[in-house]
Symmetry: C2
Subunit: 307 residues, 2 copies
């Protein structure tokens, strides 16, 4: 077991900051993960300070987990993939952050997910976790489908499923939609007695909150509940459509990842299910691969400039 | 023209506080509206201080408009109807507010709308403005249908129509939904060039923001745009269902009100359109009727107690 490391140059931090948590790893040049750290939300859309705090905290936890707490963040390069930084404002905010690392290479979460899943710049990913999104990178052409956030987008995501559950239960309690197995489960889970108390509970809540309710839709759908089946079918059809658009780009591989994958995959189009390849590595490994790529480009450029 | 009033006892303030604005009137015992004042949002769900500030400001503006600026708020009773106070927490917060009036009689916005529309405690109203809701009061039994707020409810409301427009335009820009007349109109209105800039613009926005986009759905639907027609049809069908539930309560009259009424009414079920009666007075008049009722009850009670 490594408790110290004499060549920090070979170590990289890989960080994946999503809507509900931020995950960091320390990886050596043999692609071995030496330690892992998990902290709070890393999506700058919901607060830049929260995001940067989460990044720093997860990195420190990963070093500690690796028995490398004596190494300072300023000695290591970090590859950082963040949800939300496909938006220029968020990208700029993180770029301008006086970060604690030797260097920070910033990518959106989709690119690091894709690099991790395929160990290559040629591939596509469909993500369904707190949010949902499709992404392909083929011949250096990046295409993002969806990822529009909550509540205006992210159909087929955990937040979307949770919100649909709440909507349908409220309609049912009002006598407008038929009863659903979800009614009783949701009321119990939220410790509520009626529509009014449900509204008080969910008013103004974030995507992360609604995403925690996603499983009850799948539970009910798997028990044959019509309303839940309609929700799952609508969410799955959106993901099918995202995949269809991505496949027109001819990626070498396509994978699905994110917290809802296991539950959602059986509802997808059969042909798509067969096409989906297992991700080779998680996004935080993709973040390290990205940092290595970018550092190599930077070093080549500096060689060219000094020649 | 009245510029002063020697019998303040006959004057009442009627206040209707909604999600986007707060409207106050001063009314005399002849049911004449002497002055009107309009201020910011009056819905305590989005901040208690904002709501109470709006109430006070609208009342002062109404007195000024009536040429009665010399009368202090502490000399007058106010009937106040507020969106959101059907939720116990919000009701309590407003009740505990050290308000500037001689007395404040608090009701939810639906009750004052119903009292205003029918000049009676027996009737039903369907409201579609920033939010949407159905309400009936028959034999002192109040029933609320919907009014669950944004984004978990309020189908068929301005906020809901605006959100659907954004959703559909984003799907269309991604190549998942067919093109719509709304695409160009929305991009121009928001001064955006693509999906990413639309998301930056709308991320985290309130119901009031989305409600400002509702009209473009109706514009496109009236020009035969299929996607817009599907949205309007879904919204109208929800309002039809709300009406169906309300009509089972056998109200003496039913009316529709709120900022979207004119645009939405032609899309409703034909039989329902024929049943809808014009509101006799607006909600702020209902607020005065409510205050008079409550004050009369209070005075009868105090007579009984002192006897």
């Amino acid at each position: 077991m490594l408790t110290s490391y004499d060549n920090n140059k070979a170590l990289f931090l890989g960080i994946d900051g999503g809507g509900s948590k931020c995950k960091a790893i320390v990886m050596n040049d043999q692609n071995e993960i030496l330690g892992t750290g998990i902290s709070g939300p890393g999506n700058p859309l919901h607060g830049i300070e929260q995001a940067t705090d989460s990044i720093t905290e997860s990195a420190l936890l990963a070093l500690k987990d690796a028995g490398l707490a004596h190494i300072r963040l300023s000695e290591l390069y970090a590859g950082v993939g963040l949800a939300g930084v496909n938006l220029p404002v968020q990208f700029k905010q993180i770029q301008e952050w006086k970060n604690p690392f030797k260097g920070l290479f910033l990518a959106h979460d989709l690119l690091i997910a894709c690099l991790g899943a395929h160990h290559s710049n040629n591939g596509a990913v469909i993500i369904s976790g707190t949010g949902s999104c499709g992404f392909s990178c083929v011949d250096e052409q990046e295409v993002i489908i969806g990822g529009h956030g909550f509540p205006q987008g992210d159909i087929g995501s955990g937040a979307w499923f949770g919100l649909q559950a709440v909507k349908q239960v409220l309609l049912s309690l009002d006598g407008i939609a038929e009863d659903s197995l979800m009614n009783e489960v949701l009321l119990t889970k939220l410790d509520c007695i009626d529509a009014t108390s449900v509204v008080e509970k969910v008013a103004g809540k974030t995507a992360t909150y609604f995403a925690q309710l996603a499983n009850l839709v799948f539970d009910a759908a798997e028990q044959g509940d019509n309303i839940a089946i309609a929700i799952v079918t609508e969410g799955a059809e959106y993901i099918n459509n995202v995949a269809r658009v991505l496949l027109t780009k001819m990626p070498a591989r396509i994978s699905m990842l994110g917290g809802l994958t296991t539950r959602l995959k059986p509802w997808l189009d059969q042909q798509l299910q067969e096409k989906l390849a297992e991700p080779l590595s998680p996004p935080e490994v993709g973040a390290v691969l990205f940092a290595r790529q970018e550092l190599a480009i930077q070093q080549r450029l500096s060689v060219v400039q000094s020649a």
